[in-house]
Amino acid sequence: MQNLRQNLFANKTPLLIIFLVIATVILVALAMAPNRPSLPTPNLGAQKEIIADSSLSLSELYQIDEDEEASEAAVVSYQSDVQIMTGKNKVTGVQLEIKYDPALITTVDVLPGDFFQNPTELLKKIDTEEGIISYALGTENKGLSGKGVVATITFVPRTGVRGETAFEFLSKTTVVAENADQTVLKEMSGLEFSLGSSTPTSSSAQPASL
């Protein structure tokens, strides 16, 4: 008996095997337990907070007629680029909500710019009665930093109209980025322009901080 006890303490391998078996069973049970998360739960300290550092602005208008001679008589389209400067953010997508005056401009369209390579168009809706462009696009690839054109708005002024008008970003406009669960949009500035002269003249509106 004394020999057996001595052997048991002298050779700890069986104890170690038993301990490992128990630990394995516990770990397997934990792994198999159903995972039923529901509400968003705070995960404090897991990742540092992302600072909103991106801005959106609209470029001045430029004419996109194909043939200048023909455009004298034909319909003339204008274009404004939605430009982004991401600052330190790695941007993955943009949702634009832009208001315009449907009484003054028509044939409004929005197209992806070249900031995102091969973007996914998530939403495209142009409410021609209310005058609201809703457009969302994003990338399946890594988030991008820098500046560029995320989208381009084209339109045609209504015949015979005159007056000051604008493209105005609405508050629903959002910029999303890697590791951020809220918008990283810091400021946005729309575009004011006047219609009625031979060529619309434009000026950037004051940036609106968020």
């Binding site: 159903p34 995972n35 039923r36 998360p37 529901s38 509400l39 968003p40 739960t41 705070p42 995960n43 404090l44 300290g45 897991a46 990742q47 907070e49 992302i50 470029s59 001045e60 208008l61 430029y62 004419q63 996109i64 007629d65 194909e66 043939d67 200048e68 993955t92 997508g93 943009v94 949702q95 992806p112 070249d114 390579q117 091969n118 996914t120 168009e121 998530l122 939403l123 809706k125 809703s134 969302a136 994003g138 399946e140 560029g148 054109v149 508050s171 629903k172 959002t174 999303v176 980025a177 890697e178 590791n179 951020a180 669960d181 809220q182 918008t183 060529t199």
Partner: protein, 560 residues
């Protein structure tokens, strides 16, 4: 000592040499950085690339190469001829070839351009190529108030025999096929909600050209054609939507059909009742040979008489079970007054439906809620109830429902109860999508109403603990003594549970979903920022492409 001295001297010489080299390299680096910066700081630039746009969609994508040696021209009006100065004393006309002047990879760049308007830029499309970015690869009226980027796409003319003349002289093309998914004609019925309702017909297009066929592009023009010459006044309308562009499906490779293509048919309030037959067909966009147009894929739908799709002016425009014309709305209804209800003991309620007399003034003790959650069980998605989402049993088979019942004359009542999921296994013979009014594949709860609860019409709001902000309100909903079933479908996609109604399903939710989908193991939930979110919208235990597809459909639908 001498030895140490020698060593020190030697080390000092090496140090000095190293310092000189360091200084030189610093100066060189600074020079390389500053000199071009100074040279280009005076003005703006127009730059970009020329790329091979293999799928003709106007956008450069992975695998699409850049093209060197394409001549790019730059003008500025007023054009007074080439090689003259403009009114600012600058050359108004310049050219360069892509990938030259120190640039690589199909790039071009014009530096030091003064601000101003009426700039023009043009890529000269090489022989045998076609411009895919519109305007003959020319941009005019450029207002240069900063640096501008214009990229041009070109595609090699694929006339097969390689001479780029647009005519193939070795033609082995065969006609494409258009088939329905699922196979068979589709019966279209529906209730009007607004001025029109819309149904989707899904089909696929296959490129049947042999792989050794030299001719034949991969782009097909689609047509939807009524079976008769005219469908009369206010006919249904057709629309091929994305991914189709201008009714074309692009880049269909042999052996790799374009699937899940969708034709949207819009039926208007004023569309006459009747049976409508039409067909869908496809043809190579650059093949005018009629024998190589696909066979017609037949579809059929029915706009029923008196199903509220038709406006009525008198009772002759309505039929059972809604034989009465309600003149103020032009809708066919069951009754306007009690005498319109043929059966004994029935009365006409406020919804113009015949109900048991008790339901008009008695009390109700229960209400059953049949909750469909988009993407789970027998509930499809908001935009497209399809079988893609109809077979997924949820991981969590319970939901907590909240019912808020109110009317203009009663105090608001809030009830909570647990809804249990009814299992559903889809048999191959089941309809697709399954019938909507059944318990299977839905969450069922039966709420006890307080004693003496008056039987009448209420506004009833239903929400689930999954997405409390995505609730639904049924207005003027009749709660009867004889047992009432309330059918509600709730959307999915409010991952961050933003309480702002404008942001319930938005790009923030997409970004969180995208993040979790990319995590290894496709977890059902993951941490983004400082919060953990559940992103498994169809509740199958993982965040995958199905969740992304479901989200995009919900996002699109909620915002359209």
């Amino acid at each position: 000592m001498p030895s140490f001295y020698y060593s020190w001297r030697s080390s000092n010489t090496v140090m000095n040499l190293f310092k000189k080299l360091l200084l030189l390299s610093l100066l060189f680096s600074l020079g390389a950085y500053i000199i071009p910066a100074i040279a280009h700081a005076a003005g703006h630039e127009i730059a970009g690339t020329v790329f091979i746009d293999s799928n003709s969609n106007g956008t450069r994508e992975t695998g699409e190469d850049l093209k060197n040696n394409v001549k790019i021209e730059k003008w500025r009006n007023p054009a007074q001829g080439n090689n003259v100065k403009d009114d600012l004393g600058n050359n108004n006309y310049e050219t360069m070839d892509t990938g030259t002047k120190g640039l690589t990879n199909g790039r071009y760049r014009f530096y030091n351009l003064p601000s101003g308007n009426k700039y023009k830029i043009k890529a000269n499309v090489p022989t045998g190529f076609t411009c895919t970015t519109g305007n003959s690869c020319q941009r005019t009226g450029i207002n240069l108030n900063g640096n501008k980027t214009y990229s041009f796409g070109i595609k090699q003319n694929t006339d097969g025999d390689g001479d780029g003349d647009g005519q193939c002289k070795d033609d082995k093309r065969v006609k494409p096929t258009v088939k329905a998914q699922p196979v068979g004609a589709v019966q279209l019925t529906g209730d009007l909600n607004g001025d029109y309702y819309e149904k989707v017909f899904t089909f696929k297009v296959s490129n049947k050209n042999p792989k050794n066929a030299k001719c034949g592009k991969r782009d097909y023009q689609l047509q939807a054609v009524p079976a008769v010459a005219s469908w009369g006044s206010n006919p249904p309308s057709f629309e091929f939507r994305s991914p189709m562009v201008d009714g074309k499906v692009l880049d269909v490779k042999p052996g790799n059909p374009a699937e899940q293509l969708k034709l949207f048919v819009k039926v208007f309030k004023t569309t006459p009742a009747g049976t409508y037959n039409f067909s869908v067909r496809a043809q190579d966009t650059e093949d005018s040979e009629s024998t190589r147009m696909s066979d017609n894929l037949q579809f059929r739908f029915v706009v029923p008489q008196g199903d509220n799709n038709d406006t009525c002016t008198d009772n002759s425009g309505c039929s059972a079970p809604s034989p009465i014309c309600k003149l103020d709305t032009g809708a066919c209804v069951e009754c306007l007054e009690d005498t319109d209800c043929a059966e004994d003991g029935k009365v006409c309620n406020t919804n113009n439906i015949c109900v048991d007399e008790d339901d008009g003034g008695g009390s109700a003790d229960k209400i059953k809620v049949r909750l469909g959650l988009d993407g789970i069980g027998t509930t499809g998605s908001l935009q497209e109830p399809s079988c893609k989402f109809t077979t997924n049993p949820p991981e969590d088979k319970e939901r907590t429902l909240t019912l808020k019942i109110s009317s203009s004359t009663t105090e608001p009542l809030t009830l909570n109860d647990t809804a249990q999921y009814e299992d559903y296994t889809r048999a191959s013979t089941d309809a697709c999508p399954p019938a909507t009014k059944m318990d299977k594949g839905k969450f069922i709860a039966e709420f006890d109403l307080p004693a003496g609860f008056a039987s009448k019409s209420y506004n009833v709001d239903v929400s689930s603990n999954d997405s409390p902000n995505l609730h639904q309100t049924k207005e003027n909903f009749a709660i009867n003594t004889s047992g009432t079933i309330l059918d509600v479908d709730l959307p999915a996609g409010d991952i961050d549970k933003n309480s702002d109604p404008e942001l319930r399903i938005d790009i923030n939710d997409w970004n969180i979903l995208r993040t979790c989908q990319k995590k290894s193991g496709s977890p059902a939930s993951c941490a983004v920022g400082t919060t953990t979110y559940k992103t498994d919208l169809d509740d199958d235990g993982k965040t995958d492409a199905d969740d992304m597809t479901l989200f995009i459909q919900e996002f699109f639908y909620r915002n359209r």
